[in-house]
């Protein structure tokens, strides 16, 4: 479906926690496939990913998957301030968006696509609902909160033309990164997260889509296998460019990754 189609922009969620979402109905004529919820990254990564996630949603809708993308409370066009954001609010909003998508589509199956911290939030949140996602795509998930914070701090300090000092290597708390406030709740949550611990089976099937194999990805695979989750994997180092400084303010779109995702979800029957 193109943007000229009937993409519906709306607010949803409880009073005081309203989120902004955009729903891409499945294009008429295609067999109905699973509904898809896109859980994006936050902060600067969220801005960099906006265009490619819009195109992903269009492609999914065109292939028959009604798709919802949304902003977490305190991010994008949602209500709230960046300081309201935490790992808990991300998970809460993913579950709220899931309910909204089920209400809108009456879909029997919903697949979640999580990118970066959105993947992490999706994986943890998926343990909670009675009828959770039929599958989750974990696209470059953030698996070590401390490393993620250090990465943000380094990127912030190296931004040309700002006066920030380089972060302390000993995990000193940061209050802002790349133009966004980091709340104490978000910082604490990430600082405590050196791996993903799952108590319940989050989903039946997961596609791990990363730019490279790492020890943390291997650990995640072990965790998911232990919980009897069927795992698919896709690696494509070149496609990680969407998050590079060079891609900022450009029209770079990882088409190969988008094709992989659309085909994978078509195959999840």
């Amino acid at each position: 479906m193109s943007l000229e189609g009937c993409v519906q922009a709306f607010h949803f969620g409880n009073d005081g926690q309203r989120c902004f979402g955009q729903f891409h109905p499945a294009e008429a004529g295609n067999r109905v496939r699973p509904a898809v919820l896109i859980c994006g990254p936050i902060g600067e990564e969220g801005i960099r990913a906006h265009r490619m996630l819009r195109i992903l949603a269009e492609r999914l809708a065109a292939s028959g998957s009604p798709t919802l993308r949304f902003d977490y409370f305190g991010t994008g066009d949602s209500y709230g301030d960046c300081g309201d954001l935490s790992l808990e609010t991300i998970q809460r909003d993913i579950l709220c968006a899931h309910e909204e998508l089920v209400d809108m589509t009456q879909a029997a199956r919903v697949v979640w696509i999580g990118l970066r911290l959105g993947a992490t939030g999706a994986l943890v949140a998926a343990q909670k609902p009675a009828r959770g996602p039929a599958g989750i795509v974990l696209w470059d998930p953030v698996l070590n909160g401390q490393a993620y914070l250090a990465e943000l701090a380094r990127a912030h300090a190296s931004t040309p033309g700002i006066g920030a000092a380089a972060p302390s290597p000993n995990g000193q708390q940061i209050h802002e990164a790349l133009g966004f406030k980091i709340s104490p709740e978000l910082w604490n949550g990430l600082d405590d997260m050196n791996s993903i611990h799952l108590k319940r089976k989050p989903t039946k099937r997961a596609l791990i889509l990363t730019s490279g194999a790492t020890t943390q990805i291997a650990n995640l695979e072990q965790t998911l296998e232990h919980l009897e989750v069927v795992i698919d994997k896709a690696y494509d180092p070149a496609e990680a460019n969407w998050n590079s400084d060079n891609a900022m303010n450009s029209y770079f779109i990882p088409n190969q990754t988008i094709n992989t995702l659309v085909e994978a979800i078509e195959g999840w029957r």
Partner: protein
């Protein structure tokens, strides 16, 4: 504060969010339209447009952020016009939308970088625009500026350290390259979107037209243009001979980067823009709308903007 999703423009294809003041605020006669910066979608770099819109609403001024055709969530236009004209058409459509939805009778445009270019071009074409806030608009150097900048570089501590290191290591200096960079005075070009500045006299002429029309102008420069100007007087020198120089508000702050990455820089920006708009609101004419206008009952009387109240209430 409430946000309303709008679809407007030709075939209702442009997506925007209108931030409306609370009912207790009293409506401002000034509406603010926030433009895309580069290809960043309507929320702006670091969500600046969202933060600014909500602060404006707390001040009593409605603000509309939106995506121009082909950016963010607005599809490309089917109209057979070039990018520049399409941008002006889109911003004018946003002005139509905010005037239709609110009590605004005049509009201030806020744009960063390419958004600044589109803001002043729309102001030239649309007389409803009574103010423009240009963040890193086109910049031009002057002999005075080049002298100051060269002098600053010559005596900067880092340069002296670097020079000492080069002498000690017998490396070649790069002074020739430095001199070349300072030798001419075009505005910076953006490698990605090919933002090319018009000749100084053409930009000056356009600003003069706006000034003669009593359009209020605030221009904020950052270290993005530090090779061209670093002080307000450099701007004055570059445009010496133009009458508007006495009327425009120009700030140059080389301690701030182009997209206001640091939160402290964002705070400075918001304070400056809000105070400036509040000042403009004092000279705005009172709202004058026909009573039989649809929804007129819902439109409160206009009130001057209140920065003090905003500061107390601000949480963003």
């Amino acid at each position: 504060m409430k946000e309303k999703i709008l679809k407007f423009g030709h075939d209702k294809s442009l997506l925007g969010l209108l931030t409306q003041p609370g009912r207790d605020m009293g409506a401002s006669s000034i509406g603010v339209v926030l433009l895309n910066a580069g290809i960043v979608h309507r929320i702006g770099p670091h969500r600046l447009n969202v933060k600014l819109a909500r602060r404006l609403a707390r001040l009593g001024a409605p603000a509309l952020r939106f995506d121009q055709s082909g950016l963010g969530d607005s599809p490309p236009s089917r109209a057979a016009v070039g990018y520049e004209q399409q941008a002006v058409n889109d911003v004018s459509a946003a002005i139509d939308a905010i005037v239709a939805e609110t009590a605004s009778t005049s509009v201030v445009l806020v744009g960063m970088c390419s958004g600044a270019d589109n803001a002043y071009k729309t102001a030239l074409a649309d007389e409803r625009v009574t103010g423009i806030v240009l963040l890193d608009p086109y910049a031009y150097s002057s002999r005075e500026a080049q002298f100051d900048i060269a002098l600053r570089k010559l005596f900067s501590l880092e340069k002296m350290k670097s020079r000492f290191t080069r002498i000690m290591s017998s490396e070649k200096t790069t002074s020739a390259a430095d001199a070349e960079r300072l030798s001419t005075s075009p505005a910076p070009e953006d490698d990605n979107n090919e933002r090319v500045a018009p000749p100084l006299h053409a930009f000056g002429r356009d600003l003069q037209i706006l000034s003669d029309r009593n359009v209020s102008i605030l221009m904020l420069y950052t270290n993005y243009v530090s090779d061209l100007l670093t002080r307000k007087r450099h701007f004055d020198h570059a445009f010496a001979g133009f009458g508007f120089v006495q009327k425009v508000d120009v700030d140059v702050d080389p301690s701030i980067n182009h997209t206001y990455t640091e939160l402290s820089a964002q705070e400075k920006l918001f304070e400056r823009v809000l105070s400036w708009i509040e000042e403009r609101s004092r000279s705005e004419p009172a709202l004058d709308r026909p009573d039989d206008r649809e929804g007129a009952d819902a439109i409160p009387k206009t009130a001057p903007l209140r920065v003090r109240k905003y500061r107390q209430a601000s949480g963003v």
